[in-house]
Subunit: 505 residues, 2 copies
């Protein structure tokens, strides 16, 4: 039994597999690009830029940077650089561009699509040593900080000043805010605070030629030219290295409530959402749902007590945040009364204190980790129109059963196929929990899942990004004209294609 | 005396000048580009695409499309095309690109920087006939509509369905939602609902080569590749023609309150903002401020009764919107009590019904129009860090006085120099109301205003855009590297530079 609480700075892993195969062995069809190989001269040059302590070459120390969080991908980089200033990043990248050395920018390395680890021998450029808050304006709520600040550290800093980071996610104890922006992380409160495309006000980016793009504006409104920073939000390190961000942080809510509800069908989940939007409106800060199979996984891998006495096919977690506890309590109470009376909700519990609130959230937040505890997990993070959202889990489960891949004993590779996610954002996480990674499972799942989503005009990657895992599947969500435009932009910014190769598209 | 209420479909103008000089005569240094000239063959071709009724060539009818809202700019286009479908737009643009005919996309033509009218003989491509709602999903609140839908029409459509358009501005009765997106309009409720970069979920765009970019996604989350649609938000028609938009619309508030407050200094305005953020938090939907000189202009050009008995140096308009009237009233009452007790606010009035609410808003919304009623207006729409925001008005007024340009009688070209705006967004509107446009006034104002802003790392165009008026000043807010990147993107998308030439940069 492990504690599912995220511990600041600690690393939670999605898989217990002992050894991670080299990505280049798992995917022998991927060829190393025509990049230069690292020389002793290069290493000496890097040491001159970031000093001895900013260069990692020890084999044991390199493991963390070469392996991804899910333990599905492993690169073989022999060097990690940890610059402390934007100027150092600029010098490194300029040198790599001149020498045609490939680079992987890396934040907290908590990505779920293998985007932040090398595939071959790319140089890892870690932002971990750029971790200072640069400024905070308490009147406007604008925070300017280095890319390498850990999300939870940034939020704690803001909490002390009555504000909140407009993004929250399970990996907050490890992930970097720069990585969040580079991957356009969505997370738990997008419903309330909106996407990073709206909240990020400015970025400082080292371009692939080493130039520093100073778009670190601290203005809420600025209509002078194309909004270049938007291109980097979600570009996963393929257009440059984000070194600083400016972001608008809302007032921190004074009161937070969490309700955990049992409902009898996915249709009832949607009805509850309409009720919540109408009655909780401006104080609704999260509307999460999960199936009973998700909860069973959490139960199997934690010592948490079930929040509701009976079992229900689906559960909903609602969070409200507001500035007046009495008002929020009254709104939530009225919502629950109406929802129970109309039988949309069958049972429910409301947190009475901070501990209960955290415990209820754990049932939702620990699903991701619990899914991998049995050996590994195939994760799909998709957007589809709300009404069809859960059908994907049903169809995939049926398909795994048809192929006799799912079952309780060790002979079956698949433990279970579960669904949960951010209903308010139309975002489903389909997790196929496995005892071991097997090609035949992958073949049953893919391209089936992608075709299923494409037919419904959905997104094959709602918030996790493309990285290495989804790079071949972008065509299921974007047409060729769009992909061609993206590639032209990539070539314009990075003509030598040194930034995060083998990824994205 | 005119009624300042915006009337649906009616055109409110910012100037009463009788004749607008041709832009090419006002700015003889601007040379016509090497574009083809319209031939009879071209006209016949366009008639084949959009039919006889979709082609405007009558001289009287052309006036509206050639002149801008402020009546400062006049082009000499001899043709306006009014396609009804995206396919028709595509055919028109493809033809223009092949023939090297320059094109100005035009929405409601309410822009304030001369961006939507031709400079020479560019073809005007009006979106006015593409004005249908395509779909609305009441569960997710996602609206998909043609670009030519008038903002107020879209909002009325949503009001009937319990939702609200996440943007509101003075020109709502005339402006198009496509134009709003093309110019990244900010408006009155950005404070609450955020920028269009966050709320727009998808766009359909006809690219300069005539291809239709289908990025009309109805998903809140989609991390599959660069977010191309972001480039078009605020591109002012220079990268393509927006033909459709998909946008996330919030639940419509059930209760709205407006308070109009008198305060004694700009410092007190800022203090009131901090109070409002802390106490009204999630229900705060607007925080507008204006100086007494702004109110005097409104008084001179309307028959509105002053909202407060006494005069104060500054006024604040606060709007709250929420889902529970009693809760909102209680929060607002408590805020006002505290603000009056601590003497941040000296006097105030709260709207008791819908009519009073609209009247209070008029004092804010009519300033823009009133500023031009005496002859014309030089408008500056800037972002600067909050603490310095109002100093710009003081410094400009002092400078106009020094040059003896401002006064009560007809010999002085300048009537007054006033300041107001969206304090919550750090966005000031500086309006220099004039009796007539004179070069010597312009010379005293520019580049002084731009240099002033540049020194404070502000934006020389917060929400109005660059258009024709500000194209030469982008360098005050963006460095050369950024401008070079923008120009490279422009050339990639529009190698023949046919889209909205002479504008932007």
């Amino acid at each position: 039994m492990v504690s599912p609480i995220s511990v600041l700075g600690a690393r939670v892993q999605y898989s217990s597999v002992a050894n991670v195969q080299l990505t280049s062995e798992t995917y022998p069809e991927i060829q190393r690009g025509d990049y230069a190989k690292l020389t002793d001269e290069d290493i000496a040059h890097f040491k001159a830029i970031v000093s001895e302590s900013g260069v990692v070459t020890d084999a044991d120390d390199l493991v963390f940077y070469n392996e991804d969080w899910m333990r599905k991908y492993r690169g073989m980089s022999s060097i990690v650089l940890k610059p402390k200033t934007t100027e150092q990043v600029s010098q490194i990248v300029q040198y790599c561009n001149e020498k045609k050395l490939a680079v992987v920018p890396q934040g907290g390395n908590t990505g779920l699509v293998g985007g932040s680890v090398p595939v071959f021998d790319e140089i890892v450029l870690s932002l971990a040593n750029m971790n200072s808050v640069r400024s905070f304006d308490p009147v406007s709520g604008i925070l300017v900080a280095d890319a390498g600040v850990i999300l939870e550290v940034a939020d704690q800093y803001l909490a002390e000043r009555g504000h909140i980071f407009p993004l929250d996610l399970g990996a907050k104890g490890s992930c970097h805010i720069g990585g969040n922006v580079a991957t356009n992380a969505g997370g738990l409160r997008l419903l309330r605070y909106g996407s990073l495309h709206g909240t990020v006000l400015g970025l400082e980016v080292v371009l692939p030629n080493g130039k520093i793009l100073n778009a670190l504006s601290s203005l809420r409104k600025d209509n002078t030219g194309y909004d270049l920073k938007q291109l980097f939000i979600g570009s996963e390190g393929t257009l440059g290295v984000i070194t600083g961000i400016s972001i608008l942080c809302p007032q921190r809510p004074k009161a937070t409530n969490v309700a955990f509800l049992g409902v009898e069908s996915y249709e009832a989940v949607q009805k509850a959402f309409v009720h919540a939007k109408a009655e909780l409106s401006e104080i609704l800060s999260a509307f999460e749902f999960m199936d009973n199979k998700s909860l069973k996984l959490v139960q199997d891998h934690s010592d948490l007590a079930r929040p509701l006495e009976d079992e229900y096919p689906f559960y909903v977690l609602i969070e409200t945040s507001g500035s007046n506890k009495d008002h929020d309590d009254a709104k939530l109470e009225s919502f629950l009364e109406n929802a129970m009376e109309s039988e949309v909700v069958l049972d429910g519990v409301v947190s009475q204190d901070e501990t209960q609130l955290k415990n209820l959230w754990m049932w939702r937040e620990f699903i991701a980790e619990a899914s991998g505890k049995g050996g590994g997990v195939y994760k799909y993070d998709v957007s589809v129109p709300l009404k069809d959202l859960y059908s994907l889990v049903e169809d995939v489960t049926a398909r795994l059963n048809e192929h006799n891949l799912i079952g309780d004993s060790d002979e079956f590779p698949v433990i279970d196929s579960v669904g949960y996610g951010h209903l308010g954002d139309g975002n489903l996480h389909l997790n196929v929990a496995v005892r071991r990674y097997e090609k035949k499972v992958e073949k049953v799942l893919e391209p089936f899942v992608y075709e299923w989503i494409s037919k419904r005009s959905g997104s094959i990657s709602a918030e996790h990004g493309l990285g290495f895992a989804k790079k071949n599947y972008i065509g299921y969500s974007k047409d060729q004209d769009s992909i061609d435009l993206m590639k032209a932009i990539k070539s314009q910014f990075d003509p030598n294609h040194i930034m995060n190769p083998y990824k994205y598209f």
